[in-house]
């Protein structure tokens, strides 16, 4: 299992990456953690003529607070997410989810940017970024644009990222104090993608749900943002009936394929169940109970 021949580039600056991407277009692939791309290259499902390794670029790494946003550099690893005091304090859903991604060795390499840019519906970060209403900063030689995670995904391995663009950072509006969040994932074993998973953020005010967002992992061609599921709890006291209605809406949105992880019926049911669990945990965190 040796990948095809390619030319290796290890630029030190973002501008060099953009120049290479501008010149090489779809002959080139960005190499981040490599833990999705290299397996695909070994199977010759990907045979890029050029690999642009972004791991030597410090400007693409790190997690910081910038005004009202938390910024995660695209080449930040999942291990760094788990170790981030800022995220643990202000956006715990990300480190909690990262601990459920793959295993320690993989998390030392796998990046948040790779997870978001990859376009595999099994990736965990996209649904979380949708629930957090994060934006992706995409740069090319022509300039920079920001695309909401909710608008980024088009299909299996299909996103709005152009061949000449680099995802440089992810911008997350800092969740207000009191926002409860939870990611619930059911998987067969360590290192497996989700059978189904749900990301929930919610805020309570005067005993009512003032705001909520719900998104699902691995039960469709892309991560699924379900306004219907969130609407089912907004304005309610988030009682059992509202939670059940949200789970029903999530199940209606889910369209999983039958595969080794289970039948369509089972995976759909698990999308509902993960939604229930994530709402219950997010609620208890929002109310401090």
């Amino acid at each position: 299992m040796t990948p095809g021949v390619f030319e290796y580039h290890r630029p030190k600056a973002v501008d060099e990456v953009l120049a290479l991407l501008g010149q090489l277009g779809d002959d080139a692939k960005v190499l981040a953690g490599g833990h999705s791309l290299v397996p695909m290259m070994k199977l010759r499902l990907a045979e890029p003529a050029h690999l642009i390794d972004i791991n030597a670029i410090d400007a693409l790494r790190g997690i910081r607070q910038d005004g009202a946003a938390i910024i995660i550099g695209a080449a930040t690893t999942q291990a760094e997410v788990i170790a981030s005091d800022l995220l643990v304090a202000k956006c715990s859903i990300l480190p909690e989810a990262a601990a459920q991604i793959a295993d320690p060795q993989v998390r030392n390499c796998a990046t948040v940017g790779g997870n978001c840019a990859n376009g595999d519906p099994g990736n965990d970060d996209p649904a979380i970024m949708m629930a957090l209403d994060a934006s992706y900063v995409l740069r090319s030689q022509g300039g920079e644009r920001q695309v909401a995670a909710r608008d980024f995904y088009e299909g299996v391995y299909a996103t709005v990222l152009a061949d000449n663009e680099l995802l440089t950072e992810i911008r997350i509006p800092t969740p207000a104090a009191g926002v409860g969040m939870s990611y619930q994932k059911i998987k067969r074993k360590v290192g497996d993608y989700a059978i189904a998973a749900a990301a929930v953020t919610l805020a309570m005010a005067d005993g009512r749900c003032a705001d909520a967002a719900i998104a699902l992992t691995n039960v469709g061609d892309t991560a699924l943002f379900s306004s219907a599921a969130a609407d089912a709890i907004k304005g309610t006291s988030v009682d059992a009936a509202a939670i059940d209605a949200a789970a029903q809406a999530a199940m209606a949105a889910a369209a999983p394929a039958e595969d080794l992880r289970g039948t369509v019926a089972y995976r759909t049911a698990m999308a509902g169940q993960m939604t229930r669990r994530a709402i219950v945990q997010a609620l208890s965190r929002a109310t401090g109970s």
Binding site: F6, P39, P104
Partner: protein, 162 residues
């Protein structure tokens, strides 16, 4: 044409080599350096038999290109023992029957080596989570956990005695 020079440190020794860009680190180690301690188990990034320590982190050498280790510091299982003296982890695997066929062992040892740097006094649960990227088809893991515990205790006692 796609061949290039790399220089790195392997088990404390400075090494210069020429590799193709597509050469995986595990193939470089086994075939160009004759370091056959790191094993190829799955070759699909799952089993951890190929685990080595690169720049102070455990990584799966079947999913990294050798060119990416340029300038780096690498430790394989061959670098654990101090001459004829076994590393406490190796002694622990021996004493606690932490291996049967031994195929997973080099990966288990290098991963456990880094785990004990990250967390010198792990609980059994923390050991299990720490080695969750390493599969063993023989032992059922119980004795591997005991072996890591043995090594942690021995290292901590030695340090306490200093």
């Amino acid at each position: 044409m796609s061949s290039q020079k790399i220089s790195l440190t392997i088990n404390g020794e400075a090494v210069e080599a020429e590799v193709e860009a597509r050469t995986l680190l595990i193939h470089f180690l086994r075939e160009q350096r004759n370091l056959t301690g790191p094993h190829i188990g799955c070759e699909t990034s799952h089993c951890g038999a190929c685990t080595v320590d690169l720049n102070g982190k455990s990584v799966k050498s079947c999913t990294i290109f050798a060119v990416q280790a340029d300038g780096g510091e690498l430790l394989t299982v061959e670098g654990l023992a101090n001459g004829a003296e076994l590393h406490p982890l190796q002694e622990g695997f021996y004493e606690s029957h932490g291996l049967q066929c031994g195929y997973c062992t080099p990966g288990m040892l290098t991963r456990a080596y880094r785990l004990l740097q990250e967390n010198p006094d792990p609980s059994d649960d923390e050991i299990r989570i720490g080695i969750s990227g390493n599969l063993c088809r023989c032992t059922g893991y119980q004795n591997i956990v005991k072996a890591v515990r043995y090594a942690a205790d021995k290292i901590n006692q030695a340090e306490g005695a200093d």
